[in-house]
């Protein structure tokens, strides 16, 4: 049951409903859902297709700029603006994906990183369009259908609705034939290609979806903070999205929301206590890589399975548990 997508959707709904109860800041709550989308999109590439993209910040930044430019300079309504961000995100992701998937493994990672730097300097250089270092200021949260989004919690529920819709669609995608084909490519690309799947087209399609969703998240983020900052298209933006993805765990999409949420809450708490909290983050990343390779979700899975075997009072089948973790490596 723990790996059932319907269950993951229920968990997402519960999270959306519970965030306002536990968080005082509507900004943080909205940010969790917005990054949740971006991280799920990154996960679609990393967890489902096996592509480690260091370029997710490109799409996030592009989305922010779409919101900034269309809302401040052209007064385009929000739904149309979000649509434009989706399309532009997909188009740029197709370009970046098409060029990057020419190489594999580490080379692919470096290519995506290179593109992320390229787009950063593009945004930095053409400051007439993007505001350069300052970004685009005064991005409004206009009134939509009678709802006043200047109130942060109202805006949260708007973000939540968009989040749940997109999250459901992404869950559906991962369960479709398309999603299963992506997993086949992740597991064994040569075989998937030999069976006759156009592997490259599938990878580019995964990029397109990922780019579209990430750009949507970027647009929502610019509306949330009222600025389309240069930092959204920076190396750090890509880095943070990737870190959240790995911390959450790359096996399923709810893990991404978990990763985004725990990162942002911890960052919020720690940065208030100690300005050098990134030192702890660095340490945490090393610990995750050494001891928690399946991320927070992997940790939850292990807990659930050990609780389960506790109630069953019978030892778990050796083959299964040794494949799951290092705990009974001694027996093997």
């Amino acid at each position: 049951m723990i790996n059932n997508p319907v269950f993951h959707f229920v968990l997402a709904v519960i999270t959306v409903l519970c965030l306002p109860l536990f968080l005082r800041s509507g900004v943080l709550a909205s940010e969790i859902l917005i990054y949740g989308l971006a991280v799920a999109a990154c996960n679609l590439l990393l967890g489902f297709t096996g592509l480690l993209s260091f370029g997710q910040g490109i799409f996030f930044g592009v989305g922010s700029y779409v919101a900034g430019i269309l809302l401040t300079r052209y007064q385009i309504p929000v739904p149309e603006m979000l649509l434009v961000s989706l399309v532009l995100g997909a188009v740029i992701a197709i370009g970046v994906g098409w060029l990057s998937i020419r190489r594999q493994g580490v080379y692919f990672v470096m290519l995506t990183l290179a593109f992320s730097q390229f787009f950063f300097f593009l945004a930095y250089t053409f400051s007439g369009l993007t505001g350069g270092d300052n970004g685009i200021l005064d991005v409004p949260r206009p009134v939509i259908a009678g709802f006043d989004f200047t109130d942060l919690w109202n805006y949260y529920y708007f973000v939540a609705a968009v989040f749940l819709l997109v999250f459901a669609l992404m869950l559906r995608t991962t369960q479709s034939t398309f999603g299963h084909t992506l997993r086949a490519i992740r597991e064994n690309e040569a075989r998937a290609s030999a069976i006759g799947f156009p592997v490259k087209a599938f990878k580019i399609a995964a990029f397109a979806i990922s780019g579209a969703v990430t750009a949507l998240a970027g647009a929502l983020h610019a509306m949330l903070i009222g600025v389309a900052p240069l930092s959204n298209i920076e190396y750090h933006s890509s880095e943070i999205i990737l870190i959240m993805t790995i911390i959450g765990g790359s096996g399923n999409l709810f893990a991404s929301l978990l990763g985004a949420g725990s990162y942002l809450v911890l960052a919020d708490v720690l940065s208030a206590i100690w300005p050098r909290w990134l030192l702890l983050l660095g340490l945490a990343l090393i610990v995750v890589a050494l001891f928690m390779q399946r991320g927070l979700w992997g940790l939850i899975e292990s807990l659930v399975s050990s609780l389960g075997s506790l109630f069953r009072r019978a030892p778990a089948p050796a083959a299964e548990s040794s494949a799951q973790g290092q705990t009974d490596g001694g027996k093997a």
Partner: protein, 284 residues
């Protein structure tokens, strides 16, 4: 004449880029390991130099001491941490080295403050050379000559000595090298340490030119990646060629279209990747 000047400047910059990137390239060739902490070692080299010079130590002592310290720290890191993760997927190489880079950056801020500082050029080279209408700092000329000698020495070590032969053999097949009786674990630590030490040396040499600040490591990492991608991963000559190419492009562009200088470098890299996916001199 203007261009000659810019090209000279670019070569100076390019030699530093080479020094910065060659370690990353060789480490990748030998260990198939992408080191996102490479820029952090450059940062450490620069800050150690800054710290020692601030304490009144001569630059000529501070520079080699900084490079040796970085080498030792990097080798220790390899022994304690990194060799445990080589067998993991690349995702975790990246995660660990990104974490390491963050820790080094934050420790530098704790130790030396968030603002950075300047390192004066050593007295013997703090003048300028005047050629016609152009003024060129002596220190930059020193950097060009010094790194050229170093690059030659490095080439000789890698191509002309037994140590270099073992390192190259290790990049071809770690297993066969081990079977021949070489302690590959020790070679790995040494190469990792020296590769990072070269980045530290680049940082030490760059400190009098560009000063020190806590985020210089990130910028250096970006440059090192470009140089390695353009030159071809694991290739010494590739790193040299690409380093100079990037340096000259950046320097010439800086006089033509200053805002777009960086953009052109990344555009150039994209072009190389599309037309020559293995880089200029990368092996298959």
């Amino acid at each position: 004449m203007t261009y000659l000047f810019q090209i000279l400047n670019g070569i100076g910059l390019g030699m530093l880029y080479f020094l910065l990137a060659v370690g990353l390239s060789v480490i990748f060739g030998l260990l198939q390991f992408v080191n996102f902490a490479h820029g952090a070692f450059y940062l450490l080299g620069a800050y150690f130099t800054y710290d020692l010079v601030e304490r009144g130590v001569s630059f000529w002592v501070a520079m080699p001491v900084a490079a040796v310290l970085v080498t030792l720290i990097a080798a220790a890191t390899e022994i304690v941490l990194l060799r445990r993760i080589y067998k993991l997927p690349h995702t975790f190489h990246i995660l660990v080295t990104v974490g390491l880079a963050l820790m080094i950056q934050e420790l530098a801020i704790i130790a030396w403050g968030p603002l950075g500082g300047n390192v004066p050029a050593p007295e013997a080279f703090n003048g300028v050379i005047i050629i016609g209408n152009f003024v060129y700092p002596e220190y930059r000329l020193f950097v060009i000559v010094f790194t050229a000698i170093l690059a030659g020495a490095l080439w000789w070590v890698l191509e002309g000595t037994r140590v270099g032969a073992v390192v190259r053999a290790g990049s071809e097949s770690a297993e066969n090298t081990a079977l021949l009786g070489y302690n590959t674990l020790r070679i790995n630590s040494a190469v990792f340490g020296l590769g990072a030490g070269l980045a530290g040396l680049a940082g030490a040499l760059a400190a009098p030119i560009r000063g020190v600040e806590p985020f210089m490591g990130l910028e250096a990492l970006g440059i090192a990646f470009i140089v390695v991608v353009i030159g071809g991963m694991g290739s010494y000559t590739g790193a040299l060629l690409a380093g100079i190419l990037v340096g000259v492009t950046q320097s010439v562009m800086a006089s033509l279209w200053p805002e777009g200088a960086r953009l052109m470098i990344y555009l150039g890299m994209a072009l190389v990747i599309v037309t020559m996916p293995r880089g200029l001199l990368g092996r298959a």
